[in-house]
Amino acid sequence: MPGLGTSFGRGGATTFQQDLANSDCIVIEGSNMAECHPVGFQWVMEAKRRGATLIHVDPRFTRTSAVADIWVPLRAGTDIAFLGGLVNYVIENDRYFHDYVVNYTNANAIIREGFEDTEDLDGLFSGWEPDKGQYDPETWQYEGTEVAPSAGQKEMSAGAAEAARGEDVTHRQTDDSLQHERCVFQLLKRHYSRYTPEAVAEICGIDEELFLRVADELTTNSGPERTAAFCYAVGWTQHTVGVQYIRTASILQLLLGNMGRPGGGIMALRGHASIQGSTDIPTLYNLLPGYLPVPHADHDTSLDEYVAYNETATGYWSSMDAYLVSLLKAYFGDAARPDNDFCYDHLPRMSGDHSHMTTVTAMEDGLVEGYFIMGENPVVGSMHGALHRKAARNLRWCVVRDFAPTESAEFWRTGPEFDRGEVDPADCDTEVFFFPCAAHTEKDGAFTNTQRLLQWHEKAVEPPGDARSELWFMFHLGNRLKELYADSNDPKDRPIQDLAWDYPTDGAHDEPVAEEVLAEISGWKLNEDGEREYLSSYTELEADGSTVAGCWIYTGAYAEGRNLPARRTPWWEQNWIAPEWAWAWPDNRRILYNRASAAPDGTPWSERKKYVWWNPDDEEWSSLGDSVDFVPGRPPDYHPEEGATGTDAIAGNSPFIMQADGKGWLFVPTGLLDGPLPTHYEPQESVTENLLYGQQCNPARIEWNRASNPYHRAFDDERFPHVLTTYRLTEHHTAGGMSRWVAWLSELMPELFCEISPQLADEVGVRNGEWVTIRTARGEIECRALVTERMRPVRVGRKRNRRWVHQVGLPYHWSYLGLVTGDTVNELIGFVADPNVSIQESKALTCAVERGKRSRGRRVVTSGPLVIDEERDA
C-alpha cells in the first residue's frame, strides 16, 4: 500500500464504506464495485438516493456502469493520463482548495536544486541510473532536510545511519505563496501541464467533452461545502505502474481538499475477505506486522542500526523502536531481553527480492525445495499458470490446504501440457501433501475487511473429518518443530527454541483459542502482581520490553480484556459512524486524518461537512463520534520549536500525523522506486507508443527475461493488435476454489467467455455464443464469445493519426477442475511487475483473437515459442 502510505502516512483505505453515503460525487475507477463488492455498494446506492453523482471510469460497461450517471470508457492502462488530466484541469482552472492545499499538503515545500522532471528528461526523473535500472532519489528530497517515508521503500534513501532522518524537519524550506519555482506546487503544475483534455482524449481514447464533464462534476462537488470520494481496487494496482495510479488519485484528492472529511477520501477496495488483514499482519516477504520492514541483511545489522535506518525522527513513526520491541516480546516472550537486543537477531534477514514471481522463477530453476499454498490457488489466480506448474514440478515437496484439491494441488497431472504429452506425470518427483481446511463457519477468528475493520466470527459447527483451521495447522506445526529442535545446540535453531508458543487449546482436536491470539496481537503489559493489563492504544507501547504487542496498529482491539472486534451493537442504537460495531485500526478510527475536516483554526470547514473540531473551552478536539486522528490536546495554533522531534514536531495544522512533516504528500521525496510524481507510461505490452514521452514504459518496472516468460515488442505488434483486460464476476470467487465446486454459483456463470464488441466480432467473423481462440506470447486459450455493446472500441492516437483499438474482456475464474471448467485465463499473462510492490500487470496487455476452437493448448513454458504469423501464412 505505498501509494496511500507515502501520500498520507498509512497503507489503508482512508475512509469506511458507510461514509460513502455522505458523498456528493463518487468516482469509481479501477474497480467494478457493484460486482466485486456488492454488499458495500449499498452505501454508494444510498449516496445516489440522496442525490450524489456516480461516475464509473472503466474499459467495460459493467454492472457498476449500469447504475452510474456517467460512464467513461477509457483504454485499459491509461488511468494516469486521465487522472493527470484532472490534476491539470484543477490547477489550470484554479479549482483547488487553496487553504487546504497550503496548510495540509507539501505544496509549499521547496525541492532540492538538482531535481529534474520528466518534462526535462523525456519521461525520466533526475537520478536515473541506467546500468542499475533504478533511481537514486537524492535530488527528489526537500531543500534543507532529508525525510524518511512512512511507507514504501524506507531503506531507499538510507545513506549513513548515524542520525535519524528528518531530525531537522523544521528546517524544511517552504513558500506559502506557492510561487517559488522549485516548490512542489509549481513542479506539479509543470509536470502535468501537457495532460490537457486533448491529450487525455488521444491517450485514453475518450471524448474531450466527456472528460470535461467528469472534471466539472468532480470539482463542483469538492470544496468546503461538498466532498467527493474515490473508490479503487485491483484495476489500479495490477499494472507495472500501479502504485502511481493510486498516487495520482491521492494528489487529486489532496488538491480538492477531500481527504480526512466525511464523504471524501480514497476507498481502497480489497479483493478478499481479509486481504487488508494479510498486509497488516502480512503474508509478504518484506514486511513484519504493522508495516515494519523486514531487516536487510547488509545494513540492518543490529536493533539500533535497524531503528536508525527505518525510523523517522518526527511524527508517530518516531516510536518505531517501541513497535518493534513489543513485537519481539510477542514473538519470543521471556527470551527477549534488553541484553540480547530482544532477540532481534532471530529475525530473518532479507537478502534481495523474494516476492512471489521471483520465488516461482527460482523454483523453475530448482532453487526452492518446499512450498506452502494456503488460502490461495496460484496456478489459476496468479499469472502464468503453466510456469507455476512447471516450477512446482521442480519442488521436493508441496503442501496445499484448501476445500478441495485445486489446480495448485494437481499441477503434477492436470494441465494442457499433459494432454499434449509434453510432460509425463510419472516424471514428477514432487511430494504433494493435501490438507482439507475448515471454512470460516467452522472456526473462530477475525477478518480485517476493506475498511480496516476487524470483525470477529464464531465457529458455528465443527469442521468435518480431517478438516482443520489454519490456526490449528500452524500451531501444531510450530509445536512439532519445537519438539524436533528441542535438543539442538546449533545457534540457527535458537529462534525456534525461543519462540513463545504457549497458546491454550480446547476441544477434541486441541484447537488453539483464537481470542488468545487476538489478545497477544493487541498487546498487554504485566502489572506488579504479574497480571496482564491489556493496552488500549499503540501510544502506550514502550521500547524497554515492558509491553507485548503482536501488531502495533491493532493495539487496543482487546482493550480491557474485551474482544472488541466481536461487538455487534446495531446501527439503530448508535449514530451512523457506528463506533460500537466491531473495531477498526488504528484506535477504532473510521475516517483517517480527520483533523483535516476542520480548517487550520480548528473550526469545521462547513456545517454540512462537520466531523472533527477544536473545542477552545475544553482545550480538546471533539468529533461526531469517531476517534480523533490527532495528537490529543494539541491546539490548532501550535508551532513546533526548531529542532523538535517525535510528536512534538507535529504542528497544529498538520493532519497527517504519520508523515515526517505532518503533511499530505503531493510530491513524494522518498519512498517510491519509480518517481516522486506519477507519470503516464504505457503498459509493458501496449497497442500504442507513449504519446507523451520518449520513455515508453515505467523504466523501473521488474522484468523476468527468460525463455519461459517472453514479452512481445512494446507496441504496435500486429500479431497482438487488441487490448486484453482481465476481471472477476459477482458469481465466482477469484481463482474459483470457493465457487466452481458450488452448483448454485456455477449455474449462474457456467462457462469461460470473453466479452467483445459487435465490431470486433464482425472483424473476427464470430457470432454471439460461438467459440473464439485468444492468444498472447505465452499461450492460447479457447472460450465462448459474449458479443455485447457494453464493450466498445476506443480511438487512440494523435488527432490526424487516430485509429480504432479493440478491447477484449476476460474473466479469470475457470480452470480444469470443479463442476464447471474452462481454460485458465491467467496462463496468457506473463511475469512483469510494478517495482514498488511486485504486483503483476494483468489489467492491460495485448492479445490476438481468432474465430473457432483453434487452440492446441500450447504454453510457451512447455511447447516453445508460439509463432502465429507463420501459421497464418502456412
Partner: protein, 286 residues
C-alpha cells in the same frame, strides 16, 4: 392479517443475483444445469420449478447480437477529426443495462390457485399463494393458468413448485431470504399497503430527477384488473415486455364467467340456427 409482499425496485438492482442464490440455498433447490446461454449475464433463463427468483439482464437499445452481425457502417472511414462515433453504448447515456429480479407475483386473483383441482394451492394468512407439496398431484393445471409463466412442474418428481414467499421464514418472524440478501434494497419485503406508499414516493422522486419513465407495475387492482393487483409488484423504467412481463396479464378464471356466457350464447345461437334450418326446410318442403 394484512397482506405481505415484495416491492422490487429495478432502478437500484445491481444484478448481483444474491436473491437467486439465497432463495436456492434456503429452499434447497436444485441447480438448473450448467448452460451458457449467451443472453447477457443471464444463464438461468427464467422462473421455473427450481428457480424461484430470477434476475433478468436487458441490454438496450441496439440490435441483439444474435440477430446477426452488427451494422458496421460507422466503423469504416469514420476517421475525420472530431467525428462522433455512432456506435455502442453512448457514454452520455443513451445505453442502459436493465436488471430485474423476477419472482412469483402472489396475485390477488391467482390463476394457479383458482384452477387447482386438488386444493393444493392455497391462500395463506399472509395473503400469499402457497403450493402444498404433500397435496399436489402434479396435474399441471396451474402451469397453464399462470399468466406470468411462473409456476412449473419439476421433471423428476412431477409436482408444481414456485416461490412460497418463504412461508416458513414468515412463520418464524423472518423476512424472505431474497429480501434479506439484497444488498441495495432493490427487493423490499413488507405490508403491501406500506410498500405501495414507499413505491409511489420513489416514483415521484425519480420523476423529479428526470427519470420520467419510472412507473409501477401491478401495484393495484385498478392498474392491473386482470390479476386484481399483485402482492409482489415492480418499479420499472420501460415497457413490461422488456422485462419478460406481460403488458396486460389476466387470470384466466377471471374471464370464466364471460367464457360461459359466450359459450351459452354460442349454444343458443346454434340451437336457433338448427331450428331455423328445420323451419326453413319445412317451409321449403311445403
Amino acid at each position: 392479517m394484512t397482506a405481505k409482499g415484495f416491492l422490487t425496485d429495478t432502478t437500484v438492482c445491481i444484478g448481483c443475483k444474491a436473491c437467486e442464490v439465497a432463495c436456492k440455498q434456503w429452499n434447497q433447490l436444485p441447480d438448473d444445469g450448467f448452460v451458457f446461454t449467451g443472453t447477457s449475464y443471464d444463464n438461468t433463463g427464467d422462473l421455473g420449478a427450481s428457480t424461484w427468483r430470477h434476475v433478468a439482464f436487458i441490454e438496450r437499445p441496439g440490435k441483439h447480437p444474435t440477430d446477426g452481425f452488427a451494422d458496421l457502417s460507422w466503423f469504416e472511414g469514420d476517421e475525420a477529426p472530431g467525428a462522433k462515433p455512432a456506435f455502442g453504448p453512448d457514454p452520455t447515456g443513451d445505453f442502459s443495462w436493465l436488471m430485474m429480479s423476477d419472482v412469483c407475483k402472489h396475485c390477488v386473483h391467482a390463476g394457479c390457485l383458482d384452477v387447482c383441482p386438488t386444493g393444493s394451492i392455497i391462500r395463506t394468512e399472509f395473503e400469499s399463494v402457497y403450493v402444498q407439496p404433500d397435496i399436489c398431484n402434479g396435474c399441471g393445471m396451474c402451469v397453464a393458468a399462470c399468466p406470468f409463466g411462473v409456476i412449473d412442474r419439476r421433471e423428476d418428481d412431477g409436482r408444481a413448485w414456485k416461490c412460497t414467499l418463504c412461508y416458513d421464514r414468515l412463520k418464524g418472524g423472518m423476512e424472505p431470504a431474497c429480501a434479506k440478501a439484497c444488498p441495495t434494497d432493490s427487493i423490499v419485503f413488507g405490508d403491501v399497503d406500506e410498500l405501495r406508499q414507499i413505491a409511489e414516493q420513489r416514483v415521484a422522486t425519480l420523476h423529479e430527477r428526470g427519470v420520467e419513465e419510472a412507473y409501477l407495475y401491478g401495484e393495484s387492482a385498478e392498474s392491473q384488473p386482470g390479476t386484481g393487483g399483485l402482492n409482489a409488484f415492480f418499479l420499472l423504467v420501460d415497457d413490461p415486455e422488456y422485462y419478460n412481463l406481460p403488458p396486460d396479464p389476466v387470470d384466466p378464471t377471471v374471464t370464466v364467467g364471460d367464457s360461459w356466457r359466450a359459450a351459452a350464447a354460442t349454444g343458443l345461437a346454434m340451437v336457433a340456427a338448427v331450428v331455423g334450418v328445420f323451419v326453413s326446410i319445412g317451409k321449403a318442403g311445403r
